[in-house]
Amino acid sequence: MNEIDRTESVVAGVAKFVPPAQAAPSGSEEASHTLRIEPSTGWVSLRLRELWEYRELLFFLVWRDIKVRYKQTALGAAWAIIQPFFTMIVFSLFFGRLAKVPSDGIPYPVFSYAALVPWTFFANGLSESSNSLVSSSNLIKKIYFPRLTIPIATVLAGAVDFVIAFAVLILMMFYYGITPTLNTLWLPLFVLLAFIASLGTGLWLSAMNVKFRDVRYVVPFIVQFWMFATPIAYPSSLLSEPWRTIYGLNPMVGVVEGFRWALLGTETRPQGVVALSAAAALLILVGGAFYFRRMEKMFADVV
């Protein structure tokens, strides 16, 4: 039996109860599938295949988060726009108009909003996922499933807000007469990068939050500092090389620069910054995933 068949049989197995008597001819391999529950020590495998098997649960968790969010709030989807849009207005007023912060020759409102859209996705994903395990404690204590699904679902649920806020960005570009170029095709890559950065940080913080509830108070600070450490209100061209490239160690620098380059056509392709940001984001994600899995065994006991 090859890999795919095996996975299929396990997946089908969850769905259908096969009486033992009939199980024997249909899949002898299934019968010999023994799961061993034992103490784990130190760093453990990520069990990505199991995570894949639980993709439907992941889907339902994302769906629930989205559904509940829009059901519970009076303004619903409008919030997805309000947050970045009003920040943009404030930025345009204070940084653009009063402080005369340069914006690489692009109208300041669209310059800052193009950065605020991925930033809001990142920041909301980060703060919501860091609290996700604690708020799902009733699930964690009562049922088994790969715990990684919880923060992943939380960050993914923010994608809807992102799409809505992005639609407004398109309108703004239209308003300011900015025509997108072929570079726009690179955009999904930068969205993915924002997702990786958000989830990676969220994994670290959510696992820590289970043990140290201080994290909840630390997160707003992190988000605030991170925002000013990211070229949202100002262009990274204020920095000179090599600092400008090193600045890419902050994964959100790559995302923001990427967004501006792909959509607004700011100067040359920021490949150095993006490569560094991608490496940093992946490092945070992989490290966060292993840290999360390592801490996972105490979640149900402590949360």
């Binding site: 969850v14 019968a31 529950i37 059901k71 699930l139 009562k142 049922i143 140290f212 201080d214 006991d301």
Partner: protein, 424 residues
């Protein structure tokens, strides 16, 4: 692992830190403070060790499970019995992979579905329909499977009319029915169930029991944790009795239940003796036989329960009560000794014998419990209560309550008939 086994548990142990239990989560400040005060606390606990052994014993950890080993064959229904804190839930949580064991291992042969509570993940804002899908996915069902069973789930829960209403508007009964219904349609090879039947009204519990019986009859492997000895006896043929985290008994369910009640009595007796050095209930007997040895009574015969009572303080007023409960905890009899109630006599020092003659109770065979209670008032006006051990009444006989009733007295039926034609 042998092929005919579904679960094999081998010297499984689970340790909890008591510190972690008392403070469910730590803060950085606490961690820092703890590090700073560690030497002081070490000193204090050394000093305290002499005074209060209980507080320090086992330092800061408890073993909820200790070297637990047993096997469950395929298609076997096993009841897990034990007092609160015996480790039943920890065992189930470990086997369903919610928490990791500290030592040992368990091999599971087959897909596991665990029901530690019903309605896990239900969201009040979502409709019944949406919650069925969400809860089903959380329990491990596939979307296609939920779709297939959807109508069945809804009709079992009897919520057809409200299926598109957010469940925050549901009555608690509807909520529970829906929650159980989703859970009941989960079809794993191995089912781990924890006390889910302890919810809802009597009619709903009956329905749940019926569903559980179907599950066991279908030949699925079931591990069933409950305080309801009657339910355990009905559903399971084998039992595992946990006592302070170790397996006290593993074998046929009748023996397991007997072992458990005997132990519970001994424990309660010891506790009572430790608690009140003075007044206490002593031996209890049924039909003249020590209740700890045999407690079988026939449902259609009268019986006598006797108990000794040592009174170590003088009571100016004393009242006796006798209570009989069924296995689900429903009180069937709560009888106050009436003559004495009117006169309110006192109770002198020394040993007393209390004897209650029961008429035939016509109880449907099963497990019932009985105990005595003494409420006494001292001269100073303090009211004291002393409860005897719970005696197990193992009621035997041929009565049946037609699956519903608890008592089945011999009713006399008669039918009369008047012919309409003759009347006119």
């Amino acid at each position: 692992m042998r092929n005919d086994l579904a679960i094999q548990v081998e010297s499984l142990g689970k340790r909890y830190r008591i510190g972690a239990k008392q403070e469910p989560y730590g803060t950085l400040r606490d961690t820092l403070a703890r590090t700073a005060t560690a030497p002081y606390r070490a000193l204090r606990s050394t000093l305290r060790r002499r005074g209060n052994r209980e507080a320090v014993s086992g330092s800061n950890e408890i073993w909820a499970l200790k070297g637990v080993s047993f096997e469950v064959r395929r298609g076997e229904a096993v009841g897990v019995i034990g007092r609160n804190g015996a480790g039943k839930s920890t065992l189930l949580k470990t086997l369903s992979r919610i928490t990791e064991p500290t030592t040992g291992y368990a091999d599971i042969n087959g897909r596991v579905g665990s029901l530690l509570e019903v309605g896990t993940g239900f969201h009040p804002e979502l409709t019944g329909r949406e919650n069925i899908f969400l809860n089903g996915a959380i329990l491990g069902m596939k979307r296609a499977e939920i779709l297939r069973k959807f109508d069945e789930i809804v009709s079992f829960a009897e919520v057809e009319k409200f299926i598109d209403t957010p469940i925050k508007y549901y009555s608690s009964g509807m909520y529970l029915r829906l929650a159980f219904s989703v859970a009941a349609h989960l079809e794993p090879e191995i089912l781990l169930v924890d006390e889910v039947l302890a919810v809802g009204d009597m009619a709903f519990q009956k329905k749940c029991m019926g569903k559980m019986e179907d599950v066991t009859a279908e030949g699925r492997t079931v591990l069933f944790v409950s305080h309801n000895l009657g339910a355990i006896k009905e559903l399971c043929r084998t039992s595992v009795v946990l006592k302070d985290g170790v397996v006290g008994f593993h074998g046929p369910v009748v023996d397991g239940v007997a072992y458990y009640t005997r132990n519970a009595q001994a424990d309660e007796g010891a506790e009572a003796r430790a608690a009140s050095r003075g007044t206490r209930w002593t031996s209890m007997s049924i039909n003249g036989v020590d209740a700890a040895l045999s407690s079988a009574i026939n449902s259609i015969e009268p019986f006598t329960v006797e108990a000794g009572l040592e009174v170590a303080e003088e009571f100016v007023e004393a009242r006796f009560k006798c209570r009989v409960d069924d296995a689900s905890g429903n009180t069937l009899i709560y009888h106050v000794e009436h003559d004495r109630e009117r006169e309110r006599p006192g109770l002198a020092l020394g040993t007393h014998h209390v004897r209650v003659d029961f008429p035939p109770l016509w109880l449907v065979p099963g497990i019932y419990t009985l105990f005595f209670k003494l409420t006494g008032r001292t001269e100073e006006g303090d009211e004291r209560r002393y409860t005897s051990e719970r005696v197990l009444l193992n009621v035997t006989g041929k009565l049946n309550g037609n699956g519903r009733a608890i008592i089945s007295p011999p009713l006399k039926w008669s039918l009369s008939h008047e012919d309409l034609k003759r009347k006119s």
